[in-house]
Amino acid sequence: MTTLTDPPKEHFRLSMLLYDTRYRSATIQVVALMGFMLLAAWLLSNTIQNLEALGKPVEFGFFSEPASYDINQRLLEYDSRDSHLRAAFIGLLNTLVVAVLGCITATIVGVLVGVLRLSSNWLVAKIMTVYVEMFRNVPVLLWIVFAMAILIESLPAPRAFRGENPTATMDLFNTVAVTNRGVYIPEALFSRSLGDIHFFGESAMRFDVSLDLIAIIIVLAGSIFAMRKVTAWANKTQEQTGDRPKIWHILLGLIFVPMLILLVALGFHLGYPELKGFNFTGGTHLRNSLIALWLALSLYTAAFIAEIVRGGILAISHGQTEAAAALGLRQGRIMRLVILPQALRVIIPPMISNYLNLTKNSSLAIAVGYMDITGTLGGITMNQTGRELECVLLLMLVYLAISLSISAVMNWYNERVKLVER
């Protein structure tokens, strides 16, 4: 018969911190933490000493001083008497503009190219392969400066539009002027405008929102809501009676009639660019720097997205295609209804990281003089004020915030479309 005895009482010895696996992990962690804190303290004390020696204590007062430089491509009103903070804010908006535009274009081009690379047409597939390899294997900075050079060198100057026999003409029924100083497109004007709402008074973050725009968005949202109601009603009727009521003319009317009424009520008209003197006036002016950056970033990222899309489609087993074909679906419908929804789950995570890359690559705007947050806060503001530490740290924080928010939003979306395993 055996009796259970208590295990011998162990006395804690110092060497157990190292040789006993129960304590070793704690020891390693404490050492790592201490090492990290020592390193941080060392860097911090060096920085403090160096800054004292330079006579530049860390402070952010310079942000309220006038920036005294101009930003030519901007969404909000700004002039050189505005503060550095305002300039940084305008720069941030510019970063977001080019990032959003780039992501949209890159997705469209990328999905198209990715699908076409799998085309049964040999020539189309090869051309797309050449495109992808060309863009993936050459630095994006080169593409950006290249796009800028094309725009500046090969497009006609505004004066080419002048005179009796101009060598250049405006495109799209005389509404768009493509010049080497940028592209002039028509702008939306309202003769019976509802005015603006001003947010944040006179602070650096102030911005105006046009009430016309809000009205348009509300009407559009209402139309879409009504359209969905009608479609739901049609579906229900179809399920109950087997006949689908004809609704396309109702849908068309729902989307167009309220919008037309609103536009007429607001006195909507387009302001066309016109050649006055040596340059175009009127319309919206998209500078070369914006277009070059947008084009280069989207084409570059599209090459990566194309590969992701192709990989995602190839990851879906061929049986799915065959099963869909056996159901009698056509080629296009197989892609749209069977393959793409499944491929989307494979595609989305790497797609997110490509959107992030595009946003971070937009900081190369500084190479073509587009005033994004790097060009304002990390460029002219930093050079003028000599506040490198504050500016660079703030710049990093801004990008970090943008990156984290994009990945948060995209991860949320990814969670939603993820296959629910039962």
Binding site: I28, Q29, A32, L33, L123, N137, L142, F146, V392, L400
Partner: protein, 434 residues
């Protein structure tokens, strides 16, 4: 008689397939003209390809190779073809290619970067083509980092030698202390002694030996570095250092040790959340602020450090993907064999995880190599920076396409080569799970 139906008793001889389904015609029908949409697409594509190729080829090959300025180039074009459009002026490359490749590196010393490149290929060969090349070459691989520094920057040979001696000291300390003082003490000594050596002794010792036996080659300043050579140098260093660092970070992120894990996560997410250009700003403007007063070390070295940290974070994520993709059974199998953590990692986990992540690792390499061009923004004369410098010269003012084509070609060759190699490696290592 019943009407017996006909049954064929012998096989008919095989007939040749219809002419429209085999050979060139069959291929064309299947791949280019299978449906009418495809036929339209093919015709459009042929026209497009013809248009692009005819322009590019005539631009590339009907070109001027010898001229001293863009104006002269255009005069020659006018005289030969009667137009200045559609013809390349490669004369600029002909005149400046050395500068674009080597920056302002002294021309009489060009053999050094070239030798470094050749040695790099030799040193890489036992890793890249392990089964075809003698493994004795691995000694060269181990010595290569020091050789690279010595060849590129020149100066006394004792500096790099003494730096290399640090590793020898660490190894010796481990060997001799292991039987005497036990594993842990030996490990700590093997880590601490080289650090102390590098911090306090290596410099004076190298100086002392150099004053007795001066062996050295002409030294080259960092500001003379430039051109494509700079991209290759930065790329090689960042790639070489980021792989081990990335493995360590990935292991840290996967580790059970909470504090280590969160330190690694914080580092990786921070680096991945900011653009490289801000890190280069840190390298060029802030890194000196973070170090003890009076330290002022080389801009290229600072850029190398930041690029290494940057790529290590991306590498860590790629390798973490590989680690996560390994079946749980592999970890459990290693445990059940009684292997400890490092043995399991070295023998079981890492070989498989790295194999899985080869495509990701190589595309990270390609990304780093392309990103070396960003140093032109902080004022280093890499190949893009030099192209602007060449344009600033009055002789070549206004020349774009030839320079861009040349730069693009240089990068394309290396990046495309890397991606093809990764495909080859994937095929070679495939053990047939599919």
């Amino acid at each position: 008689m019943s009407n017996q139906s006909f049954v064929r008793t012998e096989m008919l001889p095989e007939q040749a397939p219809p002419g429209s389904t085999v050979g060139v015609l069959g291929w064309l029908r299947e791949n280019l003209f299978s449906t009418w949409i495809n036929s339209i697409l093919t015709v459009v594509c042929v026209v497009f390809v013809y248009y692009v190729l005819s322009n590019i080829l005539s631009w590339t090959f009907l070109s001027v190779w010898n001229a001293n300025s863009l104006t002269e180039c255009r005069e020659i074009m006018m005289a030969t073809w009667g137009t200045t459009h559609g013809h390349a002026c490669w004369a600029v490359i002909n005149e400046r290619w050395q500068q674009m490749l080597f920056g302002f590196y002294p021309p009489e010393l060009y053999w050094r970067p070239i030798l470094a490149l050749v040695l790099l290929l030799v040193a890489l060969s036992p890793i890249l083509y392990a089964e075809k090349v003698s493994s004795k070459l691995l000694y060269l691989t181990a010595a290569y980092p020091f050789l690279l520094v010595w060849l590129m920057w020149g100066g006394s040979i004792w500096g790099p030698l003494m730096a290399a001696a640090g590793f020898g000291i660490g190894y010796l300390a481990y060997r001799f202390l292991l039987p005497i003082a036990g594993g842990l003490t030996a490990l700590i000594a093997a880590f601490l002694l080289p650090v102390l050596w590098w911090l306090f002794l290596a410099g004076p010792v190298a100086g002392a030996i150099n004053s007795i036996i001066p062996i050295g080659i002409a030294s080259v300043e960092s500001r003379e570095f430039g051109g494509y050579m700079l991209a290759l140098l930065l790329g090689v260093v960042a790639i070489g250092c980021s792989l081990p660092l990335g493995i360590v970070l990935a292991l840290g992120r996967q580790s059970d040790l909470l504090i280590v894990k969160y330190l690694c996560v914080g580092f990786i997410e921070f680096i991945r959340g900011v653009p490289l250009i801000t890190l280069l700003f840190v390298a060029s403007l802030l890194l000196n602020l973070f170090l003890p007063p009076g330290t002022n070390f080389d801009i290229i070295l600072r850029v190398m450090i930041m690029m290494t940290l940057f790529s290590a974070a991306y590498m860590a994520e790629v390798i973490r993907g590989g680690l996560a993709a390994l079946p749980r059974g592999q970890y459990e199998g290693a445990d059940s064999l009684g292997l400890n953590y490092w043995q399991a990692q070295r023998l079981i986990i890492m070989p498989q995880a790295l194999k899985i992540s080869i495509p990701g690792i190589v595309s990270t390499f390609i990304g780093i190599f392309k990103d070396t061009t960003l140093v032109s923004i902080i004022g280093l004369f890499d190949v893009i920076g030099l192209s602007s410098a060449i344009r600033a010269d009055t002789a070549w003012n206004g020349i774009y396409w030839e320079l861009f084509a040349f730069i693009g070609f240089l990068f394309f060759v290396v990046c495309f080569g890397m991606s093809r190699y990764s495909m080859y490696l994937e095929r070679k290592l495939q053990t047939g799970h599919r």
